[in-house]
């Protein structure tokens, strides 16, 4: 599998042209995976014609369909946004355009990012390229499947509770959720505004670092974006010396023994490089999922109140104004989104807010404090990315509690606003599985450097062989 820099070398040497690469990627689009909601072939070709120089020149990039590209439908995999064509592009899209990147398509997701399997899409489920009977993970399952099957070199997703990292684990890829505020959210459709962060799914740490350099940085259009300087995230060859990595024991409970042993192999490989690893404890881990559920559902119920069928999206005429709104929302949302809006409305209602939302907000602080304390002792944490490899399609769709199980390992980083990256640890049968590194705020470069080191000392050999590589 070639890296972005290798492609760009080939472009210079006239080996492969950006048009060849785009055509190869288009050929690799496999309709049976259902990774794309919209393929933007013409937009990609127009992008190439502009011949813009930059860090991602000529690289086909897939975009999760909850990030706006001006003039291309944004669906959020929901019927409620039927016919919606954004009049502006997200800041990340403008930055990629300025760096010569091209957009191959908008990828499938769980409706509005609410799910862990990409099965809850109005446009049908996405399948795992390693095994068509398994889910690709979610909610950025389309973005992960698109990269794993070679139809895009890299992709953007969004991560509210693990939605970039869990699919990266299930599809054998590197998935980064940056620090809250590292990347502008302007133009990303809001789900849980205090948790959402645009993330990157790629084949290796260096590619992810290159795209992070392009999209990171302060944006006057997102007041929560950080003015902190953007690191040279793609320069990953020097590992800072004297790294200490913590192993939080709570993250290794209730996980598949084979996942455990693969993550321990990564541990051993790192120890072999002279990195010291020690056990640490994060006792509030047991409360991660319910806290995440209360906060994200509450924020979702508020954010999704905007879909009323008046200014944009689906409109079902009713007898009066309120009836029109109710009918449009009933027709527009699938059941998981309705469930979350209803629970969110409940935890924010006057009779329940103190017991649920306000309490969850306090526990969130506790979880954050715990991470901060542990990350004073160690530089980052090594954990499994998911408790098991990808599960069968249809297995969890009727169980709203079980669907959240993988979030236990990922949602803590969203609650605390800290960066986390998932990368391949190995294969279990024919399915890949990832490990996760959770770091200090704005320490993305260190996390990616460690992933780069693992790529050198314990290279992942599970990439799909049938993918034609440019």
């Amino acid at each position: 599998m070639k890296t972005i820099l290798e492609y760009q070398e080939e472009f210079k040497e006239q080996g492969t042209t950006p048009l060849n690469l785009l055509e190869n990627c288009l050929k690799n689009i496999d309709p049976s995976l259902n990774a794309y909601i919209t393929v933007t072939k013409d937009l990609a070709k127009k992008g190439l014609e502009k011949n813009v120089e930059g860090k991602v020149k000529g690289i086909p990039i897939a975009i999760k369909d909850n990030i706006n590209i001006k003039g291309v439908p944004t669906t959020c995999a929901s019927n409620v946004l039927k016919g919606f064509i954004p009049t502006f592009s997200a800041t990340v899209i403008e930055r990629i355009e300025k760096n010569g990147g091209i957009f191959i398509g908008k990828t499938n997701l769980d409706e509005f990012g609410m799910g862990s399997s990409t099965e809850r899409s109005y446009y049908g489920p996405t399948k795992n390229p390693f095994d068509l009977t398994k889910v690709p993970g979610g909610s950025s399952g389309g973005s992960a499947a698109a990269v794993a099957c070679g139809s895009a070199i890299i992709s953007l997703g969004s991560d509210t509770g693990g939605s970039v990292r869990q699919p990266a684990s299930y599809c054998g890829l590197v998935g980064l959720k940056p620090t809250y505020g590292r990347v502008s959210r302007y133009g990303l459709v809001a789900f849980g505004s205090s948790l959402d962060q645009i993330g990157i799914i790629g084949r290796n740490a260096e590619d992810v670092g290159i795209l992070l350099e392009v999209i990171a940085g302060c944006d006057p259009k997102d007041s929560t974006s950080s003015s902190k300087e953007v690191d040279d995230y793609s320069n990953l060859n020097t590992i800072p010396k004297d790294i200490k990595i913590g192993i939080p024991e709570e993250y290794f409970k209730q996980i598949d023994p084979q996942v455990h042993s693969l993550v321990m192999k990564i541990r051993k490989a790192l120890e072999g490089e002279g990195i010291s690893l020690k056990s640490v404890s994060l006792p509030t881990t047991n409360y991660t999922i319910p806290t995440y559920q209360v906060i994200s559902y509450a924020e979702a119920s508020s954010n999704l109140a905007r879909y009323d069928g008046v200014r944009y999206g689906l409109r079902e005429e009713g007898e009066d104004f309120h009836d029109t709104i109710r009918k449009s929302r009933d027709e527009g949302f699938l059941s998981e989104v309705k469930r979350r809006i209803l629970v969110g409305t409940f935890v924010l209602s006057s009779e329940a807010i103190a017991e649920y939302y306000e309490r969850a907000d306090l526990i969130r602080r506790l979880i954050t404090q715990e991470f901060n304390e542990v990350l004073k002792e160690v530089d980052c944490l090594l954990t499994p990315a998911t408790p098991t490899p990808a599960f069968p399609i249809g297995e969890r769709t009727d169980d709203p509690i079980r669907m959240h199980v993988p979030d236990r390992l990922t949602a803590g980083a969203n609650l605390a606003g800290i960066p986390a990256v998932v990368a391949p640890a190995g294969m279990i049968g024919k399915l890949p599985i990832g490990y996760q590194l959770i770091g200090k705020p704005f320490d993305e470069k260190r996390l990616l450097s460690i992933v780069r080191l693992v790529e050198k000392i314990a290279p992942f050999k599970g990439f799909l062989k049938e993918v034609k590589d440019g």
């Binding site: 003015s227 209803l342 409940f346 602080r365 606003g417």
Partner: protein, 97 residues
């Protein structure tokens, strides 16, 4: 634990549910709320709340006039626009006036 009043919630959330959906969601909601009640176990008296997540001061854009979207662009996504307006159902009946 008291049962959630789904009729009241769906009215608050502006979502119309048919009988079958109402029954299914009622069961799910009870399950979810039973699950999230786990947070009641945590002692929270001494913890200060979270007001925002940003590590630094929020940044604001310069307060200068920018080019707004045109009326045509603003109305481009509504299903039944009238000239320069969004349309909604009549709010006040003729009898009320």
């Amino acid at each position: 634990m008291r049962e959630v009043d789904i009729k009241h919630l769906s009215k608050l959330a502006n979502i119309e549910l048919d009988n079958k959906e109402e029954k299914l969601l009622q069961e799910d909601l009870n399950k979810i709320i039973k699950h999230i009640r786990k947070i009641q176990e945590v002692e929270v008296k001494t913890i200060p709340g979270t007001t925002h997540l940003s590590i630094e001061k929020l940044s604001f854009r310069e307060d200068k006039k920018e080019e707004p979207l045109s009326v045509k662009e603003v109305l481009s996504n509504t299903q039944n626009p009238s000239k320069n307006h969004f349309t909604i159902n009549r709010m006040i009946n003729e009898d009320d006036s």
